[in-house]
Symmetry: C3
Subunit: 489 residues, 3 copies
């Protein structure tokens, strides 16, 4: 309940908790005593916070001497003395120094040891720190917790990102007691199951958007390529040909060519692995064979690809909407008008141009609208509210509709110029023509795949049927029902 605890007063370093909350009299019933091994910064921060919540704290240390750094109210003892005073011992010591715990095996027997350590690198050790600890002190109940919390968040309790405390352990009673402490401290415990989860929990705080790396680099490459492509066609060519300096186009015109291309290409790349997977399954005649690694990885980051594409589409919309505000556009419009007015000529109105212009814009708007809908549906809290059937409907049906609309938007944008030789510059077609290759390919293959004859085979394969196998399962067993069956989006 993050919103409740936000209003808990931040920690009073120089005061005891009873001073800080003089009004809480009935509630000041003493909580249990907790022992902390290690007097480093994180151990002290944890002690501060726990003292504030009415826990009694004893520190265990190699040199049990009072220090001004220790929070007021905590006591300090030798390791074994401290351990005897509490059932729960928090190990605020680096993994490399866990060895001393081996000598305490006897006194730690049956106690709850809370491993709060982190590593410096992902998968630094073959086994997680918590599992290593369980190995060192076999008689104790090991619980992994608190490693995703920062000391500062403990003290201030402000940032939503730091509220969640992942907890795992093999002894459910021990885990429950640690989760109670987490909750009392105003944090949100999340039960992650057995100690097997410790490795993931230890890797978790070290990650920096791992699923976003591939989409990020891919879109960076796309942008750089199309940037140079457009610079050659739109800036260098006019300069070479007619010595015109139109470098100011770098600020808006060129980006507004790159962004829609990147958006459309990435959107198509969201749906490409799905059709590749379908082709593979048709070719192999079974779904019980693993896809190649690159395809698996690609399919895993489709959501991220889609969101990056949405970002580019959003930028494209903004860049397009500011067009009439730009000095260059206003200047051009004014001067053309003056020239015509001076010459007393008027353009004739072309209904077909009006149709092309309006439907190109309308297709773009509708495509963007559906794209935003897809983006909203991929918000975790929204996608948790929809069931599998609804999710597939949105992500697959609406997704393909978005792709169709955006492709049509680009095709109509080309309009009469599309593929006309006159628009070649130095044998280079317009950038948007290149951008259409992948989306059109995806749409054509998808269209073939949903032809009834092919779709029927594919559905059977996905329900567990295999081309080269005699049927063993008699009808009574649960197949992929129509609900369970997903079309791999």
């Amino acid at each position: 309940m993050s919103h409740l605890t936000e209003f808990k007063s931040v920690i009073f370093m120089e005061k005891t908790s009873t001073d800080a909350f003089p009004s809480i009299i009935y509630s000041s019933e003493k909580q249990e005593t907790v022992c902390i091994f290690g007097t480093g910064d994180f151990g002290r921060s944890l002690a501060f916070k726990m003292l504030q919540c009415n826990y009694s704290i004893v520190f265990g240390s190699r040199n049990p001497q009072k220090s001004s750094l220790l929070p007021h109210g905590a006591e300090i003892f030798s390791y074994s003395e401290a351990a005897q005073k509490s059932d729960i011992i928090i190990i605020a010591v680096h993994r490399e120094h866990y060895d001393f715990l081996k000598e305490l095996t006897e006194v730690l027997k049956g106690k709850i040891l809370v491993d709060i350590s982190n590593n410096l690198k992902i998968n630094q050790y073959p086994e997680s720190n918590a599992e290593y600890l369980a190995h060192l002190v076999p008689g104790a109940h090991i619980v992994k917790a608190f490693n995703t919390i920062s000391a500062w968040a403990l003290q201030s309790g402000t940032l939503d990102a730091s509220r969640q405390v992942f907890v795992c352990g093999n002894d459910s009673h021990a885990k429950q007691r640690v989760m109670d402490i987490v909750r009392t401290l105003g944090l949100t415990p999340l039960d992650q199951g057995s100690l097997m989860a410790a490795k993931e929990i230890e890797n978790y705080p070290l990650q920096l958007f791992p699923m976003w790396k591939f989409p990020f680099y891919l879109s960076a490459i796309l942008c750089v390529f199309f940037f140079f492509y457009c610079v050659i066609r739109d800036i260098i060519y006019p300069y070479v040909n007619s010595k015109k300096d139109i470098t100011f186009r770098l600020a808006i015109s060129i980006p507004n060519r790159i962004f829609p291309i990147a958006a459309l290409t990435l959107l198509a790349l969201v749906y490409l692995p799905g059709v590749i997977a379908a082709i593979l399954q048709l070719y192999r005649g079974t779904k019980y064979r693993r896809f190649p690694d690159w395809l698996d990885h690609w399919m895993l980051c489709r959501k991220q690809l889609g969101l990056v594409a949405l970002g580019f589409a959003f930028l494209h919309v903004l860049y397009t909407l500011v067009i009439p505000i730009r000095y260059y556009v206003r200047w051009t419009l004014k001067n053309r008008t003056i020239t015509q007015a001076t010459a007393k000529t008027q353009d004739l109105f072309s209904t077909s141009t009006a149709w092309l212009s309006d439907s190109y814009v309308a297709l773009g708007i509708l495509g963007f609208f559906l794209f935003v809908l897809l983006g909203i549906t991929s918000l975790p809290s929204v996608s948790n509210m929809v069931n599998w059937r609804e999710f597939r409907f949105v992500q697959s049906k609406l997704g393909y509709l978005t792709l169709i609309l955006c492709t049509a938007h680009t095709l109509v944008y080309g309009g009469k110029r599309f593929l006309s030789p006159a628009s070649l510059i130095w044998y280079l077609p317009s950038a948007y023509v290149i951008a259409l290759i992948i989306p059109c390919t995806v749409l054509v293959i998808k269209f073939i795949l949903i032809l009834p004859c092919i779709d029927k085979t594919l559905t059977r394969i996905r329900q567990g049927w295999e081309r080269n196998s005699k049927p063993t399962s008699d009808g009574q067993y649960l197949k992929q029902s129509s609900i369970h069956l997903d079309s791999q989006l």
Copy 2:
């Protein structure tokens, strides 16, 4: 913890789990043995996944013969043999074939039976499959789980939509053990209480946006009606009258008339049931009588109505912002300027037109801004963060402010033309005039309802007072306090 498990390697069909994770040595402590009745696709997928998480799997089958389809590492026995090897038995068999379980009553006594079945239609059977199972095997502990998960999601673990596993059952210990398995598989168990919830859990994956149907059809009808209305006024009339072909207006101009009308009407329809309910309560003099079914249903889908309205408003904003980019608009502007320049005349600047134009636009922007705020507040994760008082403040106060601003936006848009006979075409008023009927009605009734004398009576009724009843509750009992009291929005 969906973000952690996303990085679990996808299942290796041809490998055993120890090959897949060679580094996990400490954590490979064997989990318990689980029995699966049925070797269909879903049972096999579940077995694959559980083997990967170090469970031992025994299949129970009518024909217990080894099959190449079965995952490596699983054993297969007859039903009763398999059941004896495990406390937990997953029933991966269609409901129509549950009968054979009756004969196993003795061996299943005290065991945990996990019902994972789904139906083909909502409310297909009078009682849920899980309750039917409980009826067949009275001595077993029935737990409903896994039915919302797709086999594909089990294998890849990618899609957020499929992470949640609803679990229900009457025996809390049995439920807890199944939830532990769910968690170990990297999924998120959600405790739904007793087996009474099974029916809902079984219906859940079959639904396709049930709350969105009414808003969807209503807005479709609105759009179609106003489409033909606008086509008659804006395209057929000019064609009949002056033979002008302006069909290109179908792409942008006509939608941009329909969308704001749909948005405003739907927004008003969000607040209409609230005022109808208030009138009903005032008329009846009590809140302890049920509203008619249509009103109940209407009130239940107000959020969806509002979000559809927001969608239309968003489209209206985009369609409006592209106006200056349109070929038709640019052509008209240029030609008028040339005509005037040739004639050497200039329009006089009209301050009142400037006021009308600017305030109409400003009201629209502010209305849209508040509308977006309302939309954000209705995101599940945001609405979970606000309390009842805050939610009412946003949805009721800000909601009515939005309605007022959008209605005013439309009124000022009409400006001097509003209700002028000159704007009638074939006796048809402009579409926006029709669009104003419902919003203005709602606002006028709401204004009457908040007059002090009426509001006081309404508040008393909502606090439990009844006009035709002698007071029984003496003051000491909890009424609707000011916090609990909601104004039905």
Copy 3:
């Protein structure tokens, strides 16, 4: 599982639950008997709902006489008689009338008392109602629950905001039983730990956006100040000087000056407390001293400040994009063109103006894009998905990049006019010049703070090092690791 329960039929006041759900036969197993003390509106609403879910209800009352108001199926007894019929007693009585419970101490021994009361003011009593109840009836197990639920929500079950039931209590078994009831009623119980949390739970429904107050008032003051500033410069001055009536500027032009200023200033104020905190820590040479209260409070509402700033930025974008649609703008453009066409003169194209105009717009778009990204990341469901390192990356790195882009946008907007004496009006500089003061200050200080020499000291301080203390912690103890260490954003 809010989406499941939404489809539960709303309560049938005149029917028993078996009529309402004739199809549920297997599931109608009787739930336990629950006693409710008090026959006020909330007690009755709760009883209706619980009867619907197959609980048996007995009311306890001072005057145990049948009333037509009581829901059909409930019985009514004297307090002590009613209490004997159930383990769980819900106290639907105002706190001021709790005294009568003292006389029932004997019969309430070992029972579960559920305190559902609310207060009229935040912190109305020194201790929470639930703790007061625990004090009055020492032998009973007190559980706090249901106080955040409205009676209306209980009956209709529609609104997400009212689904969450915060539960706390010292006896975990008693708490579990109450949470089971909550779940059976279709609501979501959230365990808040021990009875110490009751005070917060009771304050919770009384709050009205407490964290938003400071940002709201601050932005109101900013807006009012800059409104008068701009009115003086842009409306009064032209009127005094040249008798021009340009009051129509109040609708769009003036707001579109105020909103970007408010957005930029508030965004800078999000990052100002961080640099102040860093300076304080450098000056004091320790992190173990509390920041002044005002700084603490400021840091706690940075998220809200940022979101208000985003709101202003969003309005600024909309107000800017409608510029070409405005009558005033179109009129000016047309008349200038006509004037020039009549005079047969043309402006020369200025490449530097094109550069300035385009890059000013491009910087604004990119800044707004990042700003929206920051806003999306602060959605609770998104920020729960990112770890501490990722959150810091987004909020700190991307946040400062946003600030830099928006500041640059404003600087380039000024362009050649920036700080030129000609733009002074009555000695007042343009409003945007004033708006640049805080952002530039923050950026300069931040730039100094990340110089290697200063950054190194700051990092050591934040890892627990103190300038005026002898080192006590030897290396083995957990310091703020690189992951835990946050830069206070």
